[in-house]
């Protein structure tokens, strides 16, 4: 188990490194000169001054050297300074945005997992019943509706028309912080974030459980006189969860994308909102920093998924 975790951790680090190279290169390939971000457009610099600035920022060195320099600093926690907010270091800027994003994603995923798995179990156990058909239609709708549509529709109905939920941000401006207020702001974006994932998890859980219910060991459990409830919950569901855990792990990466979008629709002060504004401002250090932190988070989550999987399936532990 320890070697298993160590190996996954090593793979994760390599992936993170690869991600940083990729982001670095992509940003440098993007149109526009990174130096532009440092210059006040209304006060053009002379060619000499420009070259001096370039040299001071290290932007005249070859790309690999620039990358290594950036990496060395990054390893010490120095992700540079925001080019748009003068003198603001990137790391604290990014770190303060992690909390809200984790809250939103965790809430969204928790809703998706609980709803998806219970609906999947219900559908499989009551196969072809009205409940199964209803849930399957719902899931199909959930999978095929694009996030921008559900986000805008949700916003329109629940906050504009019905007034049940605030239309954005994390807390009521000006009010003192309170948990109910936070939850009130959290529900709508979290539910919208969860829809697609819940639908996908439900479909997987249903298919997986139906397959497991046909397995010989389920028949063995019945032959032992295990109560039907425990046949499902103890003998079938635990096996059926295996592929679903993998799915959940891999949807988390996708959920990050969804969260970025939902944050910008709901003005949720997380990494997504930061990233979107940094991209439009061409604030390269912030883009790099935010991407890396998001990437690291996804890798950690995948590691946790693998460990959960190994804990549920004894066959993984030995091999």
């Amino acid at each position: 188990m320890t070697t298993f975790i160590a190996r996954r951790l090593a793979i994760g680090l390599v992936m993170l490194l690869a991600l940083s190279v990729l982001v670095f290169v992509l940003l440098r390939l993007a149109p526009g000169d990174p130096i532009d971000a440092y210059i006040n457009p209304s006060a053009p610099l002379s060619a000499e001054a420009l070259a001096a600035l370039r040299a001071r920022l290290g932007l005249d060195a070859p790309l690999p050297v620039q990358y290594l320099g950036w990496l060395r600093a990054a390893l010490t926690g120095d992700l540079g300074f925001s080019t748009q907010r003068a003198g603001v270091p990137v790391l604290p800027l990014v770190l303060e945005r992690i909390g809200p994003t984790i809250l939103l994603m965790a809430a969204g995923l928790a809703i998706a997992i609980v709803a998806g798995i219970s609906a999947g179990i219900l559908s499989a156990v009551r196969r072809n019943s009205a409940a199964d058909v209803g849930l399957s239609v719902l899931a199909f709708t959930g999978i095929s509706s694009p996030a921008f549509l559900t986000a805008l529709l949700g916003l329109y109905f629940f906050s504009v028309r019905l007034g049940w939920a605030p239309s954005g941000s994390m807390t009521t401006p000006g009010a003192a912080f309170s948990v109910p207020d936070l939850l009130h702001h959290l529900v709508l974006p979290a539910v919208i974030l969860s829809i697609g994932h819940a639908a996908l998890i439900m479909r997987y859980m249903r298919a997986s459980l139906l397959e497991v219910l046909n397995q010989d060991y389920v028949r063995t459990a019945r032959a032992k006189g295990v109560r039907e409830f425990w046949v499902i919950v103890k003998h079938a569901v635990r096996n059926a969860l295996l592929p679903v855990i993998t799915l959940i792990g891999s949807t988390i990466g996708v959920a990050v994308g969804g969260a970025i979008f939902i944050e910008s629709v709901f003005n949720w002060p997380g990494m997504g909102l930061l990233l979107v504004s940094a991209v439009s401002d061409r604030d390269y250090p912030v883009i790099m920093g935010a991407t890396l932190v998001i990437g690291a988070a996804v890798i950690v989550v995948n590691l946790l998924t693998d460990i959960t999987y190994a804990a549920v399936d004894p066959r993984i532990r030995v091999s």
Partner: protein, 335 residues
Amino acid sequence: MNAPVLDIRDLRTVFRVGGRELTAVADLDLSIAPGETVALVGESGSGKSVTSLSVMGLLPRKVGRIDNGTIAFRGKSGAARDLVGMTPEALRQLRGNDMAMVFQEPMTSLNPVYTVGEQIAEPMRIHLGRSRAQAAAAAVQLLADVGIPDPARRARQFPHELSGGMRQRATIAMALACDPKLLIADEPTTALDVTIQAQILDLLAKLQAERGMAMLFVTHNLGVVAEIADRVAVMYAGRIVETGTVDEVFDHPRHPYTQGLLRSVPRLGQATALKRAGTPLPTIAGAVPSLANLPRGCAFAPRCPYAIDACTVAVPPLADTGGGHGSRCIRWPEI
């Protein structure tokens, strides 16, 4: 003779397939005394497993059901009760406790995510109210009883860490956990290689003798029947076509199907001799008819060398040929 543990009368089990009802088992009578082993033989699809599942109350729900007949079962209470029409809950309480089943596939019959010990302990916790610790200790003892070396360590292992033969021993231990009156073994050795097969057969015979259980042994291997069973029932297309003691049926088969089966069994040395001569083993010509399309009268008629017009008029009754030997062939005196 002792009062039978299992006494099936006139059983008919049907399946609903695509809006049609197929009769998988019909007119089946079968009785097993305490300590007795009855073998159920026949080609694939003849209804052996369906018969077993009918007794256990494990027919696939909504698809299969018992349409007719009685299954009198004398469990631990000592009173005979009809399993047909019993509530699912009453049947569940008998399963794994008064009657137990061993299945064909040791590789897939154990749950991959629980230890072998936990799975053997489970029926004792459900039916006998044993505590976790008591049941775990009993499970280790059972593993020792079925001949698994180092049982305490094996009990803590997961199924994938055991060989096929060992897993089958473990499923036998699981079936015997509550000391059932009836053990149904559905092809318990088919998936194993020959030397392991012999060991498992010996083990089953030994445990059965020790515990005085009744055993229904399903197989399509006549060599296995000769080794383990007292009586045999030969099934064809859902019906028992011949039944009697193993000696009687093997020495004087009174049904052309049984004769054909016996002829296709390689005798010692015969198989190699035939192989050397390049001739295939004799088999029964023709194929098992599909249940959806059974011929009128004797279902074996299309493949039977003795068939005459009279055979296709009605299903032949199970005729008593003397000494508890029965044959569902109208021409039994001639063959």
